[in-house]
């Protein structure tokens, strides 16, 4: 099929390769083989290949506009009835996601040049980001489940390495561990689903899987229990990737990593997870239980995440929980069969959240502080950052006519009849997130400068340039969304719905501006409020719960196995050894020297042996 296609499409396999090659190109500097002139060349090479990926991607988009969606695949592994392929689905939505990934990667890499200016292992950072980008651009284009899984796991690995970038710090070590293990649990469950699908459905292509799933109701190859387990396995992977309750705690801890990686993680990595879920949804929906779990997880994450975010004093964590919350909304939209809307929300959220995190990064870079209680009065000194933060926050909250407003309008309009409760969840989350951004804005930018913010110059141009560019993109986002989703258009909801959404945002902003700031972190004297404050500030005690359940279960089982191994198995082996030594010592005394007794023993043994074998042959 390939020969008839235009060149950029035939070379589509290069798109993930750009990112991976960036990693390889950085190796000489990352390993320290090249030390002259510092590690900057590695960064430039990575920027170059990412730029190539962006350009190649837009070229492909143009071609696809003209000739319609295409599918390409290449063989990778074949044996018996197993056929694993490298497949690309070139639809407009996939390519738009690709452009999101590559553009964000490019912007973040420029930003990182400024943010990690004095970092001695800059090359290692770029190598990891290249790896990250390669895996993500493959995930969004993938046309089969095997390749998606393959690359998702690579994302897990690169997240681990990026979070663990500053591996000498103790908090980073635990954060990297938790990020890896939480995602790994999701991945192993997903792998169970992938393996089962591969064995029972035969093909791994999403389209074949959909056909198989459609037939499944009649053919009844799998029982209802198996289908439910399959559905639960398949949602576990995206749950881990998108940091949904109860697998959300890694994203918050991952904030220990360098900020440019946090930007990517909070905007595009979670998007990749949600896109995989979207592709799996036709199979997941076979099981109503799995769909219900998805809705429950989404709802808990949306509202729980938004509430926990309110109680954080750490600048980055306040927004990482908000990411969990928005991805919860995406999960609801996916579970309610609105993939198009989910995708729009992912775009709107991804870009705006990235901009927010850039602003956060600028503040951290300037003040070396991310504690909200120690920040204040930056607004007038860092105008670009301040503006970027406002635009990013406006893009996240459904109030001003930026990306999220239109998404919320469409979603609420769609669900107000069929699932009114979920429409309420959307509005409530919008309200809470408006409270959160308003209170964070107040504590950072308004008020009197505090000791750590007295000297707060605007960031250098390497950070300001991507921030301002992204601000423009976020402002233009509604137009882009209209182009992505021309029918029925992003404004296809009645004014009343728009007003309700705006009202929820406005109430949130109002609450956020009126509540005294210190109420978000100082502990109340009223006992029941204090309980709630603690509950939220400590993330519903999730780390504790994990520690007491899963972790201690595995640790105890491991200790038991070790004890069993040392005392029972080793004891048995040693006991047999000692016994044989002892009997040898005993037998030594019975040696009489009489030939007849030896012959008798040998004869008896032979008779016994032959007897046993005769029985064996007969039986």
């Amino acid at each position: 099929m390939g020969s008839a296609l235009p060149l950029p499409l035939q070379l589509i396999w290069l798109i993930p390769v750009y990112g991976f090659s960036g990693m390889l190109l950085s190796l000489p500097w990352a390993t320290g083989w090249v030390k002259r002139n510092g590690p900057r060349p590695a960064a430039y090479l990575n920027l170059l290949v990412t730029l190539l990926a962006v350009l190649h991607g837009s070229w492909v988009i143009n071609t696809i506009y003209q000739i319609g969606p295409q599918h390409l695949d290449f063989p990778w592994f074949q044996s018996g009835d197993l056929n694993l392929r490298i497949g690309f689905d070139l639809s407009l939505t996939n390519l738009a996601a690709l452009e999101l990934v590559t553009t964000m990667s490019l912007v973040c890499q420029v930003y990182a040049l400024g943010y990690l200016d004095k970092e001695w292992s800059l090359a290692r950072f770029y190598a990891l980001v290249g790896f990250f980008e390669g895996a993500m651009s493959g995930v969004v284009l993938s046309s089969n489940l095997f390749m998606s899984y393959f690359l998702l796991e690579m994302l897990t690995l690169s997240t681990y390495l990026l979070v663990g970038f500053w591996y000498a710090q103790p908090l980073v070590v635990t954060a990297a561990r938790d990020a890896f293990l939480t995602k790994r649990v999701g991945d192993v469950l997903l792998l169970m689903g992938v393996v089962a699908l591969s064995a029972f459905a035969g093909s791994m292509e999403f389209n074949d899987l959909y056909a198989w799933a459609a037939d499944l109701k009649e053919s009844a190859v799998l029982g209802p229990t198996a289908i439910t387990l399959l559905g639960l396995g398949l949602i576990a992977g995206p749950m881990g990737k998108c940091a949904q309750f109860p697998m959300h705690l890694w994203l918050d801890e991952a904030m220990e990593g360098p900020n440019p990686a946090s930007i990517l993680r909070n905007s595009v990595v979670v998007t990749c997870g949600a896109i995989v879920l979207m592709k799996l949804m036709p199979i997941v929906q076979l099981s109503s239980l799995a769909t219900d779990v998805l809705l429950a997880v989404g709802t808990i994450s949306a509202i729980g995440g938004a509430l926990v975010a309110l109680a954080q004093v750490d600048l980055k964590r306040a927004f990482s929980y908000a990411t969990t919350s928005y991805l919860g909304l995406v999960f609801i939209a996916i579970a309610l069969q609105k993939p198009g809307l989910a995708l729009l929300l992912l775009f709107a959220h991804g870009l705006a959240r990235a901009l927010q995190f850039m602003g956060v990064g600028s503040i951290i870079a300037t003040s070396n502080c991310q504690d909200l209680t120690e920040l204040g009065g930056i607004g007038t000194r860092m105008p670009a950052t301040s503006l970027a933060f406002i635009i990013g926050s406006a893009g996240v909250v459904g109030l001003l006519p930026l990306g999220s407003f239109w998404c919320f309008g469409l979603l609420v309009n769609n669900f107000q009849q069929s699932d009114p409760w979920f429409a309420v969840v959307f509005l409530l989350t919008n309200l809470l997130s408006a409270v959160n951004v308003t209170r964070v804005y107040r504590s950072i930018f308004l008020g009197q400068p505090l000791p750590k913010t007295k000297r707060a110059p605007e960031v250098n141009w390497l950070m300001a340039l991507p921030m301002v560019s992204l601000s423009v993109i976020v402002l233009l986002l509604p137009a882009i969304m209209q182009r992505l989703d021309p029918v029925p258009g992003i404004a296809s909801f009645p004014l009343s719905v728009g007003l309700v959404v705006a009202a929820s945002g406005a109430i949130g902003v109002l609450i956020g501006s009126l509540v005294p700031l210190n109420q978000f972190w100082s502990r109340s004297t009223t006992p029941w409020i204090r309980v709630i404050q603690d509950l939220l500030a400590y993330d519903f005690y999730t780390p504790e719960i994990y520690q007491r359940t899963v972790v201690s279960l595995v640790a105890n089982l491991a200790q038991f196995t070790r004890w069993f191994d040392l005392n029972v198995i080793k004891g048995l082996a040693d006991g047999v050894g000692r016994l044989s030594l002892a009997t040898a010592d005993g037998l030594k005394l019975s040696v009489s020297g009489q030939l007849q007794s030896y012959v008798l023993t040998v004869l008896l043994a032979i008779v016994l042996l032959l007897g046993v074998l005769q029985v064996g042959r007969g039986g």
Binding site: L82, F150, A168, A558, Q559, T561, G577, L613
Partner: protein, 502 residues
């Protein structure tokens, strides 16, 4: 003659090393050994070139009647099951010779034994006659015992004796099964002909297969027959551990497939459900035991116990895909565990300890072991089954081939795969992340923060073999067709044959 050269090169090499005139320096001995092993590797590659992957049965066969009275023939052959293992043997023996540091004690015998083991292993993989296989299987035993008991660690006598007793029992059971076969069928046909019910009643088949299972189960090792392995590994020197984990354990799994599955297909089908559960127990037990270890080498040893369980699972399922998975798992475990032992060995030699409570922050770029640490991350990720490396495709094939047959055992084994990530992450986090210090953590921060550790640079003789292994692990992970091309036809035929008769 080509296959015989795989025996002649190492055996003549052993003789040459033992009889080399004068008193050559250890370095010289090492060089001679490397030359012999490179020749062996080239011969193995030549066999690979001559091998026709499309053909299912034994190839390049050689046959000479040796002792017809007892049924012992000199019959060699290679197929898609044994060829990858022959290659792994050649490669890893070379690695262990290269990484051997100048040893002060009897270098002549040390290197001779190394080469002798390699030859015996080749013989075992190539033998087409049961007795011939047994001869080679036993031949490897004594040299390895010597390597552990002479050049081992502090508690070497205990470990070596334990190894000897366990493997001797294994050998006895295997020989007993082979001789029992002759006795029960009433013929001295020790060729690789499947034993079916028309030749032997099911009860007899199961007794013989049971003996083989326990015999090879000791070698693999499967829980609860594994007790010799952690001790042997902790006391053996690094090159010997590489050889033991990378090559010698494969004798057990190879024997299981060749003489269990292929010789007793009917009895195998009867026992398969039990074997799958046994595999799952072995996987989980090995993984859980590994979590609780604080000695890095013991941890890797227990991970071997867990990972070899996948091979039993795949063999029990006995589908074309699962058998391919078994071969992949053998090869990738060979490469990955060799790499892990090599890296742990480097850490041990540089720091003098393998205790995870003592080692911290070895990834430090200036004063620690950054390259070793980076390769360690690759190795543990490969072992945990991260895609893009050899472990993933192997596990995927094993699970994919087994899940339809034994869903519960397969899912339990996958949990074991998740646990692998737990213990290896603990290893990396404790020993390589954090601040560099080689002191047990105490409550005294001044003591903990000691930064005067300065580890010497690792010499290329160790880093280059490690990098080669990394390349192998990643290469096999990205291009798995290179291996499946060799094995696919043989294993499909094997699975179909076994399915056809059962």
């Amino acid at each position: 003659m080509l296959l015989s050269s795989l025996l002649l090169i190492p055996f003549l090499g052993t003789a040459a090393l033992l009889l080399w005139p004068g008193k050559p320096a250890p370095g010289q001995m090492r060089l001679i050994t490397i030359v012999i092993l490179v020749l062996q590797l080239l011969a193995s590659l030549l066999v690979t070139l001559r091998f026709d992957p499309a053909q299912a049965g034994m190839q390049l066969q050689e046959f000479h009647v040796w002792l017809p009275g007892i049924g012992l023939d000199y019959a060699l052959g290679v197929d898609g099951l044994s060829l990858p293992l022959v290659l792994i043997n050649a490669a890893l023996t070379l690695v262990s010779a290269v990484i051997t540091r100048d040893i002060d004690k009897r270098p002549r015998i040390y290197f001779a034994m190394l080469v002798l083991i390699s030859g015996a292993v080749n013989g075992a993989f190539l033998a087409e006659n049961l007795l011939l296989f047994f001869l080679f299987y036993e031949l490897e035993l004594i040299p390895l015992w010597l390597l552990i008991s002479v050049w081992g660690g502090a508690n070497k006598a205990y470990a070596a004796t334990k190894f000897l007793i366990f493997t001797a029992i294994s050998g006895m059971l295997i020989l007993g099964a082979f001789l029992g076969l002759a006795l029960l069928t009433g013929s001295v046909d020790f060729s690789l002909t499947p034993v079916l019910s028309d030749r032997l009643a099911m009860g007899g088949q199961i007794v013989l297969l049971g003996a083989l299972l326990v015999g090879f189960g000791i070698k693999i090792p499967l829980v609860p027959l594994h007790n010799w392995l952690p001790d042997a590994h902790t006391q053996a020197s690094t090159p010997v551990s590489v050889l033991l984990a990378g090559v010698l354990l494969k004798l057990g799994t190879y024997g299981l497939l060749r003489f269990g599955l292929q010789l007793f297909p009917e009895a195998w089908a009867k026992l398969a459900p039990g074997l799958a559960i046994w595999a799952a127990i072995s996987v989980l037990y090995g993984s859980l035991a590994a979590i609780a270890q604080t000695d890095m080498k013991r941890m890797v040893a227990f991970s071997s116990v867990g990972h070899m369980g996948y091979v039993l699972l795949a063999a029990a399922a006995n589908t074309p895909v699962s058998l391919l998975g078994a071969v992949f798992q053998m090869v990738s475990h060979g490469l990955i565990s060799a790499l892990l032992f090599l890296l742990v060995g480097i850490v041990y030699r540089k720091t003098g300890t393998r205790d995870l409570k003592v080692l911290h922050g070895l990834l430090n770029p200036e004063k620690g072991l950054p390259l070793t640490g980076s390769m360690m991350i690759v190795a543990v990720m490969a072992s945990a089954g991260l895609p893009g490396m050899a472990g993933f495709i192997s596990e995927f094939l094993v699970f994919r081939g087994s899940i339809a047959q034994f869903p519960v055992a397969t899912l339990l084994s996958m949990v074991g795969s998740g646990l692998t990530a737990v213990y290896f992450l603990l290893l990396v986090n404790r020993a390589f992340f954090g601040r560099l210090s080689i002191t047990p953590s105490s409550d005294d921060p001044r003591n903990d923060a000691r930064l005067d550790v300065q580890l010497a640079v690792v010499s290329p003789r160790e880093t280059i073999p490690a990098m080669a292994l990394v390349a192998g692990v990643v290469g096999l992970g990205l291009l798995p067709m290179s291996l499946s091309r060799l094995s696919d036809a043989s294993l499909t035929a094997m699975a179909l044959q076994a399915m056809g008769v059962s």
